[in-house]
Symmetry: C2
Subunit: 412 residues, 2 copies
Amino acid sequence: MATPVRSATSRAGRDPDLPLPQAPGASREETRRQNLGAVLRYVHVHGPTSRAELTSRLGLNRSTIGALAADLAAAGLVTEEAPTGTRRAGRPSLVVSPRSGGVYAHALSIEAYRLRAARIGLGGRILDLREACRPCGMSATDAVAPLGGLVRDMRRAARADALFVGGAVAVADTTREPDGKIRVGGADPVFRAALATEFAGGPGFVAGDLADIAALAEHVRGVAAGVNDLIYLHGDLGVSAGIIIGGRLFAGHRGHSGKVGHMVVRPDGLPCGCGSRGCWETEIGEAALLRHAGREPGEPGAVEEVLRAAARGDRRAVAAVEQVAGWLGFGVANLVNVIDPATVVFGGALREVYAAGADIVHRRLHELALPTSREHVRLRAAALGRDAALIGAAELAFDRLLADPLNAGAAG
Amino acid sequence: MATPVRSATSRAGRDPDLPLPQAPGASREETRRQNLGAVLRYVHVHGPTSRAELTSRLGLNRSTIGALAADLAAAGLVTEEAPTGTRRAGRPSLVVSPRSGGVYAHALSIEAYRLRAARIGLGGRILDLREACRPCGMSATDAVAPLGGLVRDMRRAARADALFVGGAVAVADTTREPDGKIRVGGADPVFRAALATEFAGGPGFVAGDLADIAALAEHVRGVAAGVNDLIYLHGDLGVSAGIIIGGRLFAGHRGHSGKVGHMVVRPDGLPCGCGSRGCWETEIGEAALLRHAGREPGEPGAVEEVLRAAARGDRRAVAAVEQVAGWLGFGVANLVNVIDPATVVFGGALREVYAAGADIVHRRLHELALPTSREHVRLRAAALGRDAALIGAAELAFDRLLADPLNAGAAG
């Protein structure tokens, strides 16, 4: 059975103390808007779908689905075509498809070592992809101008009549301020101001934490599709988590949830960049793997080399992976005890550490987590690889369109 | 301004993989049901409210509110009366009040040392309260029969025409099975079966974790009223948390979230009853306080004595509280980094530890949590004291009535 379609919008950007929209007296227009959104979201997530299937999946009647699909087609958001190769007698049910080539979002990511920009069509198809190096020391704010350049290049290559619905940026890092405070890149007001200036005059760009956004991607289209309670762990230089609860991204009261890399796991441990000591990322971040393997931090490709050496059976590399996998399992056990997720997904560099040390991660989980939670939790390597952040950013960018299909677009 | 009314239903009892109810094509009956629920919930949470205020709070028009209130009054759920002492000219707006004496739930709690049972009226008023000792070693399942006796006594004392809407039980403990597995009391199938048998023939009893249920009480009527993202920490023999996210109790994928007492905070720490080592509750549970104070675990009243001695300035007792408060702050910092709540509430024995050692808790939080999350988080002592579990259990029990006011009751 297909996965029920669920909205998985970030709460970033709205006052978290406001109630979620309530509709004790939902109007007809509101009902129609919700229904249009439900149909468009369904084909966006599941791809081309017949009217008959939409009727049964969404619990609306046939004529309602027909009218909604016709409205979406008239707005240029979907196409409707007779199915090919049907052999059954009678009039075949039209197939509704998202107009991937004609409706798009810009998805950007500011990653540890790279800047990436994609044009992603409705339905999640990557239509164009550009990247640039992120020089060591370049702040998220400084990355906005080069990203703007990539976006301009992509826009020139896009069809002139295509509908641009907005953009989103996934930001990987926390930056330290001169006052010693750590700011999450995506929430930094200077960064947001730079973003607003660079992309002025369009439907606007939203920004969020890379782990949150990659979590959304794995939840909508990846290894956790249909899983409503999950923790996505992303590792690169640091470690953070995206938490999805009840099918919705939980970004925290002020957008800072999932800073799991700064759980203290060893009160007597190594100093961490955040000013504390023994944080989880001092034991499972890239630097930890390199330290155990006797490599210098900052060597490009060194993490991959250690993982390859471990796969070959190199004794020191294997021991390094085992060390990191042990601490990975330790922290996962704590998270499982606190949150009781259905699935934990390992992404970024942690994907490879998990792949190489899954036995150890499972053993630590078994030793440390309560049976009630660990009995059902599934551990999974991320499916979308390095595109997860871009795919998730596009989901964020499409969200406004999917909430109100006929009133959200802007010509790009 | 009044707090927006929010549903804060436990997810216990429904399949967590099912989507939340979606209504792309909400019917008129459904809209009416939602509106009836919104009015009843408002007066249940906020007490007597004029029709005029309901009109403005709920965003419905005056005649709709009038009709809804009349329907609720006809069903015996509310009363409508002219306000007393009004001096304004014109016809005064009728005041809608919950019928506390005529509509009630049974709220039960299985606590570390006590069994408690209350009859709680719509609006949250405790109408009757009974308690019994819980002898050392009595399992949650064995507690069901004596609770049944307390409920029968209360029912005999209730008005014969009162509407009984259902019951709920808050269960404090995890029990160890002969196979070494830990089961949460409320989720134990043997316990649930005992509950179903004891309370057969009525609208039924639901069960949940005491920390979850007390969290709900503090969220609806306590120190965290109107706060939608909060962690409630409950300490007695063990330590667990109720987590409310976006105004809803998050019980975990299988109802086991918040087992924060079993986060490992000292990998080299003391053995824990769960089979692991260095769990948070080995440092902040009652046994830790007594250990540091040189007292034997299990002495009745010993925890209170240590806290009183610390308040008097007894050196050893003060040092014991400081030790526990330090570890309390340590774990809170980890939770704040992971979840980014708006508020952390300290309940049970942790309420007193926090009250005595708040400076230390705040200092540890400051040292260990990221500024982005700790800058806005508020730490609060619980407001409802030992009644929190009962008040929260009543909220759970009333939830079905509030979701569908005219079709949920059953004569008791």
